[in-house]
Amino acid sequence: MTLLAALARRLLVVPPILLMASLLLFISVRVLPADPAGMSLPPTASADAIAAARRQMGLDRPLAAQYAIWLGRLVAGDLGRSVHLRRPVTALLAAAVPATIELAGLAMALAAGLGLAGGLLLFALRGEAAEMLADAGTTLLMSVPDFLWALLFILVFGVLLEAMPFTGRLGPALLQPGGTGFLLLDSLLAGDIAAFRSAARHMVLPAAALGIAFAPPIMRVLHASLIDVYCADHIRQARLRGLSPTRVLLCHALPNTARPVLKLMAVQFGLLLGGALLVEEIFAYPGMGALLVDALRNADLPVIQAVALAYCAVVLGIRALVAGLRLALDPRLRAR
């Protein structure tokens, strides 16, 4: 009950935030020296057609009214049609968004795993000479952006070792099972083990590139919060109660680091999605990033707007998820 109320309380601020995000998007698209009406039609459109579109889109009205119209359409679920691909934007998103979420989710899981292992290792080494080395290592690791990992992995695992596929989502001669668009889930639901295997293999390299790039911050925060937590009285009290070091670490220290680590992961997820943009492009992975880059190159305004909003929605969803997790994990947050 408290949990639900606390969650509901946090969800209350979502509409204003979304509203602000949409306003931001509207403005940033509007400051572009481009004509939304012209951009919403193929370049072949006649002047009359563009003028008609202007009227229809309300571009002759004041800016606030334009925003209201645009928002109204958005709320009604009308994202328009891609100028360039000539398909409803919703259909494009339906294919691209699950692909990206799947990739980013896997990458985040990997980053969390690596971060956990690395953070514990760093913590175990504290006060020793090896700590300096490990610390320098993480700084160096943190300085290699995800797309460089992607290029490296393609070169090493894809081309030199020929161990892993690095383009697309699925191997040849395999059909994508329909359903949610989450390939791993769909193929499992359809019982198509070959497709699952292939999809998983295709995700290994891009997810690893992203995961490795985003693990070091998690390592650091985990390490730092472990050190903080170990200074806390309740850890000392647990040790004074004679609990074993393992139990102190696993049952008392680690759960108390969840709050900062989860908070970081929520922030990181947004960055990871941004990083996924180029990684998708490099791996010819048909996700939101590839869709957006494509749309930007073709000045495909409806797609640009829709993908940008989809990014917002995904980030917001992740934030809500993390907020829920933090609430579930930390009773103190529920009280406030």
Partner: protein, 506 residues
């Protein structure tokens, strides 16, 4: 060029050393192929946009009334026989009676009429509306006979039946489901049917077992869309795709040394050129000519094609028919500087233009564009380079919004000179950024000319004039690069088609 087999059709199967994903294709006798392709189809309506690179994909799902053989001669396809009237104002066609669309309905003359007349008259926004604008009607005396009527002489009509966008679509199905649904579930009569389509990502096609023509050897074709040249090269090297095109020439040389791969460099019936406008920064003829003189075509060929691409002086392939030997356009930066000086420009005060290029569409396109920009900078032309998508090129061209200069490989699958100068320079057609009517009127006159020799001479003169006034800057004959598994045999076409229906594992 050493070590590169040209149009070699043999392949030696390899036994070992391939990863799991790649090994299945040929080792196990599996009958599928994966192709790495640089661009997606613009839409699944084959009449809608003329996109040369989508042609081989369309040719899997749809059939053209006429086909071409590897030497680009016209051969029967859906049409068994055809007869052009001497005045070139009508074309009699006899259709096959055994052709069945993927939905099971037979192909009839009504479908042909719908494709080339009906849907244009119905106002569908299709590019074939331009190509077949002279069709006044198509009579269908029987289910297998049709007579096309033209309101002006159309000597190239048979060639056009085998050219861009000329694919027969099923009238009833299209009417029944509507255009949007047709785009989602296309139905043609071709050797393959569409099994899965992930826009911008991949196309999976299954063999059409009730195909009327020769059965393709391979059951399934997967087309992976890879816009990035480096990705394509890496993918074919690692065995993720069995065949790909338009990889950089340097990569061809490298991949040719790999035992499992065959890499080819095929000159094709395409011309790499700069399409120019007659307004903006290029309104001044001297600047246009200076821009042309400033380009060292030999150096471009040497640097990016290992000298395999022939430098051109006219907008046509190095074919004696259209390309008389007596005309050459000098590469002379000094002359370019003089010409620019006449217009008051120098390296310090450069003429400013914009230029567009594709990236990865044909080998080294972006590199050539940048090299040209650098050459221009030397003489006093400052070009602002913009990268555009292949599909965007067509959109911009149709909307007359291309910049002053655009690097493009103009495709002429027919080999007919009309398709070069006639389309490139005719302001009435949506292919030309050049909008000066004087040249256009001459081109329009040649369209209607029925006499073959006279036509040829006319096109030669027109091409020459176009270059002399700077209406077009031809650069090189295009070279198709293709890398494939040695074991994968295919039939090369003079126009660069790579058709999966001609492929087999050997």
């Amino acid at each position: 060029m050493a070590g590169i087999s040209r149009r070699v059709l043999l392949g030696v199967p390899l036994a070992a050393g391939l990863p799991a994903d790649a090994a299945r294709a040929w080792a196990g006798g599996d009958d599928g192929v994966t192709i790495g392709w640089p661009s997606d189809v613009p839409s699944w309506d084959p009449n809608r946009r003329f996109v040369p690179d989508a042609q081989p994909i369309f040719k899997m799902v749809y059939d053209q009334p006429l086909d071409q053989d590897p030497r680009l001669n016209l051969v029967p396809s859906l049409i068994a026989r055809w007869q052009l009237a001497p005045d070139a104002r009508s074309l009699e066609l006899e259709l096959r009676d055994d052709v069945v669309f993927h939905d099971g309905t037979p192909m009839r003359s009504a479908d042909l009429r719908w494709t080339f007349f009906g849907r244009i008259a119905a106002g569908h926004r299709v590019d074939t509306a331009h190509a077949w604008r002279m069709v006044s009607d198509i009579e269908t005396p029987s289910a297998t006979r049709a007579i096309m009527r033209f309101n002006s002489p159309a000597p190239t009509a048979p060639a056009w039946l085998a050219f861009l966008g000329s694919f027969v679509v099923p009238r009833d199905y299209m009417r029944k489901v509507g255009l949007a649904a047709f785009g989602a579930r296309p139905v043609g009569s071709g050797p393959y049917r569409l099994a899965e389509y992930q826009p911008r990502a991949r196309i999976v096609l299954e063999r059409n077992d009730s195909y009327w023509g020769p059965k393709p050897a391979l059951r399934r074709v997967t087309v992976e869309i890879m816009r990035d040249t480096a990705t394509r090269a890496a993918a074919v090297q690692s065995g993720q795709v069995d065949l790909t095109i338009s990889v950089p020439v340097r990569e061809v040389e490298r991949l040719a040394r790999m035992p499992a791969l065959a890499a080819e460099l095929n000159p094709i019936a395409r011309v790499i050129l700069l399409q120019v406008r007659d307004d903006g920064g290029f309104a001044d003829r001297d600047i246009r000519l200076a821009a042309h003189h400033a380009i060292d075509k030999k150096a471009l060929s040497q640097a990016f094609y290992g000298a395999a691409a022939v430098p051109l002086s006219l907008p046509a392939p190095p074919d004696p028919q259209a390309h008389p030997d007596d005309f050459t356009f000098a590469s002379d930066p000094n002359l370019a500087i003089q010409l620019l000086a006449r217009s008051g420009h120098s390296a310090a005060n450069p003429a400013r233009i914009r230029m567009a290029t594709t990236k990865g569409q044909f080998p080294a396109d972006y590199d050539i564009a940048r090299a040209i920009v650098a050459m221009w900078r030397q003489v006093g032309i400052a070009a602002e380079l913009e990268v555009i998508d292949y599909a965007r090129y067509f959109e911009l061209n149709r909307a007359n919004r291309l910049p002053e200069a655009t690097l493009y490989a103009f495709d002429n699958a027919t080999g007919d000179p009309e398709a070069y100068g006639g389309y490139l320079l005719n302001p009435n057609l949506p292919f030309s950024p050049w909008k000066d009517v004087a040249l256009g009127r001459k081109a329009t006159g040649l369209f209607d000319m029925a006499d073959a020799a006279e036509r040829l001479a006319g096109w030669q003169a027109l091409n020459r004039e176009a270059v002399e006034i700077g209406a077009c800057i031809p650069l090189l004959q295009s070279v198709q690069t293709l890398v494939r598994r040695k074991a994968l045999a295919y039939r090369p076409y003079g126009n660069g088609w790579v058709l999966p229906q001609t492929m087999e594992w050997v």
